[in-house]
Symmetry: C2
Subunit: 154 residues, 2 copies
């Protein structure tokens, strides 16, 4: 796929950018029912991790680890899920997904069909999810401070 | 989850070990319809990447990159998918999944429901899959040589 056809190369992506520099950007994935779901997007149009040189690979992964740590510190998920697929948009981006026992797909993957829940579970998750959403500004604040520790991109 | 209950800590896991040292092991995931699907399993019972120190995190990821490179060199997939979930088995393991346009779920995630295919597509994939399976010994050979370049674990 040429960069000219790539969704992640096009300007005007509607997702909220939480932090960016010349090498990468970090966005709120804004996936309904998954508060805190964050994406780390490499700016250059590259498909695979092994297409990056070692220094850039480390740079990108260090950003992913900082996202994971900020999620854990601020939202305390049961588990963090990390994924780099790109089957539909072959431009390097990492999904960093905080997971909780009552989210709609736990313990299955985010990409699996929803798990059946009782009405009580749905209600409990709705209440908890609202608390998580209220915590997002704190998470984003912590995240930005953490990403500011990355070496400057040149 | 204590290590005593963990599937990845229990001896006698039936999956074929392709390479191992004290820190990690690399196994053939043996997922039907996904030739070359490989897992990199950290030996110590640890749940999250941010629970590892930086040196061990780099060590594990370097193994993942070597798996990706060997897959690309020997099997030439359309895309490589990388994932670390652990919702059901919270013990660090990376899925490294070579993907092809006619595999049963492309371009969806491996964890998504199967995509509908025509009989011709199913037949074409069966033929291609057999060729891939015949290439697996070469992939494993290249993979082992690549993993031998990792620094010794101490």
């Amino acid at each position: 796929m040429p960069a000219s056809d790539c969704l992640l190369c096009r300007p005007g992506n509607p997702l909220k950018t939480l932090w960016s520099n010349r090498k990468l950007r970090v966005v709120d994935a804004a996936e309904a029912g998954f508060p805190g779901f964050t994406r780390v997007i490499w700016n250059e149009h590259i498909a695979e991790m092994s297409d990056l040189d070692g220094a850039d690979r480390d740079y990108l992964m260090n950003a992913v680890w900082l996202v994971e740590a900020a999620l854990r510190n601020e939202l305390m998920p049961q588990k963090v899920n990390l994924a780099q697929f790109g089957n539909q948009v072959p431009h390097l981006h990492w999904h960093v997904i905080p997971r909780w026992p009552l989210d709609s797909r736990f313990p299955q993957a985010f990409w699996a069909p929803p798990v059946e829940r009782s009405p009580e579970q749905v209600l409990a998750w709705d209440v908890f999810q609202e608390q998580l959403e209220n915590r997002l500004p704190d998470y984003w604040h912590t995240l930005r401070h953490a990403l500011d520790t990355l070496p400057p991109s040149v």
